[in-house]
Homo-oligomer: 335 residues x 2
C-alpha cells in the first residue's frame, strides 16, 4: 500500500495537515503531499533508498513532520535522535540504530559532523560541511510500500528505567496505537494537535503519524518551549488538543491568565507521573486534563484517565486503552 | 485475544454500552459483559461451539446486540439472516451459509421452523417448537479467541446488484472499517448511535461492532421503523449520531417539527443514492447529513461526504475513507 500521507492526501486533499505554529501558516494535505514528494526526491538524490535507516537529529519543527513522511514515502526507516546528545553519545546511538544517512539542523550540525562519518545533510544553512537539503536536486525514486509488519521507526526509549534501549515500531504498531488513542480521547474532523514535545521521543512523534490517519492537523511549534509563546500559538491558531509533560503543563497553567488551556478539547499529559496537585489545579482552571501512562515500546500512551476518572480517583492514569493489557509487577517481575 | 466486549468491559466498565431506545433503560459495558457471558453459556448449553455458524433471523432489537457479542465470546461465526425471507428463501440462505444453530423471534419462528431442521431457539415465548433461549441452562464453555483473520460474520449482500452473495467478514475487516469510519466522522467518548436499520444488513450491523471498539453506546430501537417514535426516542435518550437509508431520513424530516435531527452530531445516510433534494432539505433544516457509499463486502461505508462537501458538490458521496481505494468502472469493468 502507498504511504499514509499519499492515501490521506487522496482522501482529503483540502484539509489542514500542518500549521506552522509561530506564523500561523497552514498547509493542506494536498500541498504537504507535494512537498513531501519533492523532499523524498531530494533524499533519494542524496542516496537514501528503500529500507535505509534515515537518522534525524533535530528539535521539533515543521520540517520534522515532512522528514517523517518522506522516509515513509521512500520506504526508509525513520530514526529520530535526541538533539541534546553529545557527539560521543550520538555516535553510539547512530551505531546502535545502524543509521545510513543523517539529517541535522543548524543547532545539531557540529555535533552530527563530529559523530557521523556517513552522508550528512542539514535543514539549515550549513556550517560544518553538511549538504543543505534544499540544495539537493530531486531524483526519481521507487515508491515505498508497506504492510503492517514493516518497520516505520527505530526509536530510543526515553530512558525512564535504566539506559536507553532501541525500539522497533512497525506500521501496525503505530496504526493500532492511533486507533486505541482516538477511541479513548475521541477525534473530530476539525481537530488540530498542538505539538511542542520533542519529536525524538515517542510522545512528541505520535501525533505526526496519528494525524495523518485521522485526517486532522498538527500545529508544530519550534525554537523550544516557552510558556507565554505556546499559549499565544494555541490561541492564535485555534488548536483543539495537545500533549505535554507535567512540568510544561504546570508552567503553562502558571502563565495562562487568559484561560487558553481551557479552550482545548483535551490536554494529554504523560512521560512522567502527573502530580495530584496538577490534576486539581487543572480541574479548578477548567482544563480537560488526561493523565496517561505510556512507553516508547507501546508507541506512547497505553492507559489514559479522563477528567471524570481523576475526579473519582486522584492519581489514576485510568484504564488501559482498547487492545492493551497491563500487568503490574514488582521489581522481581512478580504480579 | 479475548473478544472485543470482554476487552472493552475491562477498559471502561461503567460506560453506557446499550440503551433500549423505547424504554430509555441503559446498560453499562460491565453489565452487558455479564449478560453476554450468561447468554454465551446458554448458547453453549444449546450446543453452539467454536467455529459453529450461529444464524440469527430477527429484526433489530437490543437482544441482537447481545447475540452478536455472545457469538464472538464463543468463537462462533454470526450469520444474520433477513427477517423478511420466505421459508423457501430462508432454507437456501441457511444452506449457503452452512448454519449449525438458528435463533429466531416470535415474528420469525414459524418461518424458521419450516425452513430449518437443526437446533432452533427463540428469544420470545415459543409458538412453533423452538426452545426459548432464556430457558436453556448455561453451560461452561471454552473462551473463544481471535486474530485479525478470524471470520466474525457471514452476511448476504443486500442485493443491490444481482442476487445476494454471501460475504465473509473477518475481525480485521470490521476493525479496519471501524477505524476508517471514526477517522472520517469523528468519535467522541459520549457518543451514542441510534440504531433503527435492520441489523441483518451491514449498515445496521456496523454500529454494533464499532461501538464496542470506540467504547461508545448504541441505542437500539425495536418493533420496526416509525418516524414519530424514532424522533421521540432520539430526543428522550440524548442520542448523538445515527445511520439511515434515504427514505427513512426523508420520513424523519417530514415528522421533525421540533428539530430533533439537528441535535445529532451526524446523520449518516447510505444503502441507496441520496437524492439531491434530500441533501438540500437536510441542510435547510440544519441537519448534519453525511451521504455515503458502501457495500457489505467493505463492512459498510467506504466513501462519505461531509456537509461541507455536499455544499460544494451536490450529489457527492465524498472521498474514499482512509485505506480504501475506489476505481469507477463501466458495465464492462473498464475504468
Amino acid at each position: 500500500m502507498r504511504d499514509w500521507l499519499a492515501i490521506r492526501a487522496q482522501a482529503t486533499p483540502a484539509r489542514t495537515a500542518l500549521v506552522h505554529a509561530s506564523s500561523g501558516e497552514a498547509t493542506s494535505y494536498g500541498t504537504l503531499d507535494d512537498e513531501v514528494e519533492r523532499l523524498a526526491g531530494r533524499l533519494a538524490g542524496f542516496g537514501v533508498d528503500v529500507d535505509d535507516h534515515l537518522g534525524v537529529v533535530a528539535k521539533t519543527r515543521p520540517a520534522f513532520v515532512r522528514l517523517a513522511h518522506a522516509a515513509s514515502r521512500l520506504g526508509a526507516v525513520l530514526v529520530p535522535l535526541n538533539a541534546r546528545l553529545t557527539a560521543r553519545e550520538l555516535t553510539t546511538a547512530l551505531d546502535t540504530a545502524d543509521v545510513d544517512t543523517l539529517v541535522c539542523t543548524a543547532a545539531t550540525e557540529a555535533t552530527a559532523a563530529e559523530a557521523f562519518d556517513g552522508p550528512l545533510a542539514t535543514l539549515d544553512p550549513p556550517t560544518a560541511g553538511a549538504r543543505r537539503v534544499s540544495s539537493i536536486h530531486p531524483e526519481p525514486f521507487e515508491l515505498g510500500s508497506w504492510t503492517r509488519d514493516c518497520t516505520a521507526v527505530l526509536l530510543a526509549t526515553s530512558g525512564t528505567t535504566g539506559g536507553p534501549k532501541l525500539v522497533r515500531l512497525t506500521m501496525g504498531n503505530l496504526a493500532a496505537s492511533a486507533a486505541a488513542s482516538s477511541w479513548r480521547l475521541g477525534v473530530l474532523p476539525d481537530d488540530c494537535w498542538y505539538c511542542t514535545l520533542p519529536m525524538y521521543h515517542m510522545g512528541g512523534l505520535a501525533p505526526v503519524y496519528r494525524s495523518v490517519l485521522y485526517g486532522t492537523g498538527v500545529a508544530v511549534s519550534e525554537g523550544g518551549f516557552d510558556p507565554a509563546e505556546s499559549l499565544a500559538e494555541i490561541e492564535r491558531n485555534g488548536m483543539t488538543t495537545t500533549s505535554l509533560v507535567p512540568t510544561m503543563c504546570r508552567e503553562l497553567l502558571d502563565a495562562d491568565d487568559a484561560g487558553v488551556l481551557a479552550t482545548l478539547r483535551f490536554v494529554l499529559v504523560g512521560g512522567a507521573p502527573t502530580p495530584d496537585s496538577l490534576v486539581e489545579r487543572a480541574r479548578a482552571a477548567g482544563v480537560a486534563l488526561y493523565p496517561s501512562y505510556g512507553m516508547t515500546e507501546t508507541s506512547s500512551q497505553i492507559a489514559t484517565a479522563s477528567p471524570d476518572q481523576t475526579r473519582d480517583a486522584l492519581g489514576t492514569v485510568g484504564s488501559p486503552l482498547m487492545f492493551t493489557q497491563v500487568r503490574i509487577v514488582d521489581a522481581d517481575g512478580v504480579p
